[in-house]
Symmetry: C2
Subunit: 192 residues, 2 copies
Amino acid sequence: MTLFAVVGHTARTDGSFSINDLPGSGGRMDVLCRCVNASLFLSHELRRDVDCCLILCGEPAGPKTIRFSGSSVRSLSPDERSAAALIKKVIDTPCGSTFREAAPGVFIRKGGLEQIIAEHAFAVLDENGTDIRTAADFPAAFLLSDHLNFTEQEEGLIRDSPRFSVGPRCLHADHTITLVNNELDRRACAWR
Amino acid sequence: MTLFAVVGHTARTDGSFSINDLPGSGGRMDVLCRCVNASLFLSHELRRDVDCCLILCGEPAGPKTIRFSGSSVRSLSPDERSAAALIKKVIDTPCGSTFREAAPGVFIRKGGLEQIIAEHAFAVLDENGTDIRTAADFPAAFLLSDHLNFTEQEEGLIRDSPRFSVGPRCLHADHTITLVNNELDRRACAWR
């Protein structure tokens, strides 16, 4: 199972955001919705062996983590509004520090980066890392930041994690996920 | 200059679609909006050397082609609604068979695939093509289909075009564009 986790530094942590204004009222929730799409969608099916965790760090109740599970999520379409509607549906569900399924295949808990890095050995996706094409192997979990850099405190938490890069340009988080999924697809299929 | 052109088989060709329902009322306009994003966006800038043409073939006035020019487009954000708002703004602009600039960096004309393939030597992106990583060279223009396969008539028009593939799985058009841009970035930078 592959896991992508994305830190949403300003992503709203209650349901007061508007599906019609994900960048503004959602605190760049649009970035995170595109990461769900890039993590889970193949052309006419879902990647059943991939999960995507959104680490929401914005106002007023953060941090919270929402997990989309490719193996069990339902009612998810590729457009941004579809992922956003599921986030809005689950985000105010009362929860503690363990994941609670609040919609089919969509789980929520309190807690953010500190919790999740204690549970997974992450590869950090970063433009200064080792080229994923030449890497001998990776962890099964990949950590990314949204449109903002990791904070100094976050950098402290991931200081010892291996770093991988997808190419010479600085890309959006969702584009980076697409490139990692492709590299994993190629290796899994021993493609050409 | 790199050009991506995407055939939107059901994409609405007047401004009557709702920005709040791109998949339904827009005839899967969401797919095309994501292709604009994948074609033009780097992390905090636009790809100024890339254009993206959307070939809209749906009701009621198709085909029309809308061209987003990375070198001159303005007011474009990465979210689907932003590209959709620009499409909606220009789509009813009176036009003929040559491109007319209807918003900064956004051009429109009547005509579809037949017109554009007479102007560019396209590589068709197709899961049965040559692996882009091993290809010696490509044309500078890439043609993709939306969520539907090329029709028999379209296949007739592109019968002699070279075909390239991005990997072993069947992917969304926007994910495919991201992978091609990455391959071109790597070659342009002689990366690693």
